[in-house]
Symmetry: C5
Subunit: 256 residues, 5 copies
């Protein structure tokens, strides 16, 4: 589970929960119709702009993206340099024995598998690049669904509040109901603001960030596999990796 996401969510929601409980009336903040209007309405309108398959598929991808660990392209680079060094010394077939060690990196396993199978380097690159681009494509779609939801939820909150206000204003003759009615009316705006600003917006930003890192790490793996397949010198691989790694993660495996 990604630490920053968990911690950030816990801190933000925790502080609001504390404020609600200290206020002494936590139940006043839960109103089923208000929840239904904002959550259901946001789901409905977001679905309208896409297709049902897309919305459901992205649900799964979003959870998965959140469970993904923080990826470090620099470490991935070091790892493949070691592998490439070893493949150079002991032959690519030694990779066969190493594949089992990287259960947590299915993409690396797949890449090495292709090397062991003797697929030529350029073909390895073509096959894996297509897969990386397909993955990125799915993530972009999911992020755009989240961004749309972040636009829709405050609008649904406003609509819910207007409905509540119109109802309240129709019963103005009984002053004792004004306060509670107005409180309920404001709840949808509150739910909409929370959903948009504390859930959908940061989730979309996170998903985009994770997707970028994931595809950077995968590009490291595929570049290494292609390089092994072409039986290149690992020094050339280091040079290749440094052309696209961000400055902070550049490699210096050989001391020169």
């Amino acid at each position: 589970m990604d630490l920053a996401t968990t911690l950030g969510l816990l801190v933000a929601f925790g502080l609001i929960a504390v404020a609600v409980v200290l206020g002494g009336s936590a139940t006043a903040f839960i109103d089923l119709p208000a929840i239904l209007i904002v959550v259901g309405g946001t789901f409905g309108i977001t679905t309208m702009s896409f297709s049902i398959t897309e919305v459901l598929k992205s649900q799964g991808l979003i959870y998965k993206a959140f469970l993904s660990r923080d990826r470090n392209p620099g470490n991935a680079g070091l790892l493949v340099m070691e592998l490439a060094d070893r493949a150079r010394r002991d032959g690519v077939l030694t990779m066969q024995m190493l594949i089992g060690e990287y259960e947590s990196e299915p993409f690396l396993q797949k890449s090495l598998g292709l090397v062991v199978d003797g697929v030529p380097g350029d073909e390895i690159e073509t096959i894996l690049l297509r897969e990386v681009s397909a993955m990125k494509d799915r993530h972009t779609k999911s992020a755009s669904i989240l961004r749309r939801a972040a636009e829709v939820s405050p609008a649904m909150g406003l609509i819910g509040t207007l409905v509540g206000l119109v109802q309240m204003l129709g019963r103005l003759d009984d002053p004792s109901t004004i306060g509670p009615s107005m409180a309920v009316a404001l709840l949808t705006t509150l739910y909409g603001a929370i959903l948009a600003n504390m859930v959908f917006s940061p989730m979309a930003a996170k998903l985009e960030r994770n997707s970028n890192e994931e595809s950077l790490v995968n590009t490291v793996f595929l570049t290494a596999a292609a390089s092994m397949g072409r039986q290149e010198n690992p020094r050339r691989l280091e040079m290749l990796l440094n052309t696209f790694l961000p400055p902070a993660h550049r490699l210096q495996y050989y001391e020169d």
Copy 2:
């Protein structure tokens, strides 16, 4: 009828209707002058920015776009691969017999018709590309009319509410009318928010999405027809289609 649109609209409007009915005063939410100001005003101002012919023409296109099924470019690709395979084996004239089977795909019928008529491949491409671009052009115009309406309707809602507030404030001496007058004033804001966020905005997004898919599927059809007209090997057609199909829909008709 497109499922996501119907379902999304039903869920969102249904939840709001339930909230309105549970509030016990559903009739308080219907006010003819308010509806006229928001709906009529939005129509009037949107028309001002375009021409009457454009607005009326797009009306029809919008309904049509909504009734269109969910298009699957991958399936369209498989279908044309089968057709191309068959044309390769049994000659393009066999297409003559197959045209009748695709009544639900008029663009495919037209494409095959050109092949059967012996129009050269490059000319087929030119004719059909022009048609696809003309269709896209009409959809873009309709989507931009919807987007404009989504901008105008909240503004008309605000104007209606201000008119209502000024009227209410002029009769402040009779306190019993304040509530209902204010409720009516807020109704135009509510109508404007609903029209913009639950109707025009998602409809524009949907129209653009459907238009993109429609023209992708039509491009699949026209590429296949042009390829048949040039009497190319279907393997080359598969390669051509894969250059523009999205990753998730790439074809692998031949096992290689």
Copy 3:
């Protein structure tokens, strides 16, 4: 007079006028100081961002643009094809007799005049293209003044309302004046919203749209005149026109 503009304006303003009159206090909606602040202030601030000559000149252009008929580039194309056909058959000097018939199209008259005067085709193109670009230039300037006014007027409305609120709050001791004072304060916001959303914004959009169509029609005229001046075959003119006419207006003058 452009139909969509007239109708749109009438519908939108008519509906609001009906709502105001039905509310029973139409005079409550007219307040001279409020009108002066919003209209005068918007004029003043908009002028500040440009120069006086520019604002006055564009005034005239705006009225003229609104009086302009709906232009149809397709019809203009058919007209020049007929003229080019005739010029081809009977010689360009026959154009001399036809010029008088197109009083409603001064730009076409001017174009044909250059052909009759024997000005070479390329020179005709240079002279007229410069004129089309100068006209477009003036329209863009006028549209940007309208867009600026659409930004300024709600701001002036807000400022007027704040002035009114501060005055009202200073006399809170006499409750009977609160309602009417607040109503007057809200009027400037109402005026600002109406000016921006129902006048300046759609007028700017319309002006840009009309300007685009006007210069498309004029480009049709100048292309035809240049083609006649070069004594080209009208079939070539048709091809030239189809390269820039929108799909819906493409010509098919010759049956091929």
Copy 4:
């Protein structure tokens, strides 16, 4: 002094002043702490985003830009055509006597001075182009400071109003102070709206517009000086100037 700016400011501020005075309580609109928060706060925050030297230097440039007359590139073009014509007939040294006549155009004086000094044409162009670009650079910086101030001032107005509201709500037990306290609280929002919409925003737009015209006029002067320095035919100068003068200001000095 620029007429449009003076007139626009006078009209807009005059109308508001009239509304304030007619309201009978002009002093209610002046509150020193409110002025300090909005004006001082806007100055402080704007300075934070830049450096003190930049903010002070641009102060001077802003006044200067406002005092600059309305520049007419067409007239500047005619003037340099006359000068070039004379230089062609009587030799560039006659420029020596004419320099004194153009005290109001220091950039023209400088340009002619270089011609008289016998600096080669291409070098004149290089030197003066650098100066024009440095001037434009300074104006862009000043305009961006004004744009930033237009963003900051409404924010400071909102902060001031929130401070006032919190103070007012703490003394709600004495109802007679509610009105005046709220009025004072709203003043900062009013000041912020006035500063942003009636001062900073139009000033930035004006500065950018003036800067564009100034550098267009200066480019006319430098092009002429370079052309004289290269001893070119004035007809060639006319052609050169027409390539960058806007359509409405194109020259036709020679009758052809």
Copy 5:
């Protein structure tokens, strides 16, 4: 410490503090739960969109960037011209003795060190350019974290205010608590507005401005070091520097 930042912050916060104290109830402006919701919530949500390491690392960079002096690229240019002149006359090894004098400019020290070590000019350029780009990369990341915080904090303020309003409306029966409860509710909006407009937004703008100047000065240093390494004539260095220095800072070291 950067003067504009300190002064700007002091002026803006000082004026608000004065207004708060003059209002007589300074303690009413401090509410721990409100501070926790806005500050903690902003921190939590901002962290969610990035990773914990990134947020912590940027913390340090932000303080450092604020402590950095105002950099003057023109002065840096003059300094390196003097050094280059001296290196030309007395040999690059004299640089060895001068390095110690520039303790306040570690990047200049590093650049000169490479020259003294005899690293070839082109290699010096490659090594140092990579470092400048890595530094810029880190600053851009930090600025984007600040910009995100400036978006999140007003949203957290709004959420806090809605929570407070719902609580207040639930206890409307005791009118004496309305004022203070509402005051507390508004505090979170106030905190959010202050954080976004007076802290995060100007800090991000400043950081970007400082980063640009820092990397301009460093580019001056590295260009000079590379030029010394290539043993070029200092006149060529002056020309090189003038190609990228802004107009106001252009050098004229040699009198020509």
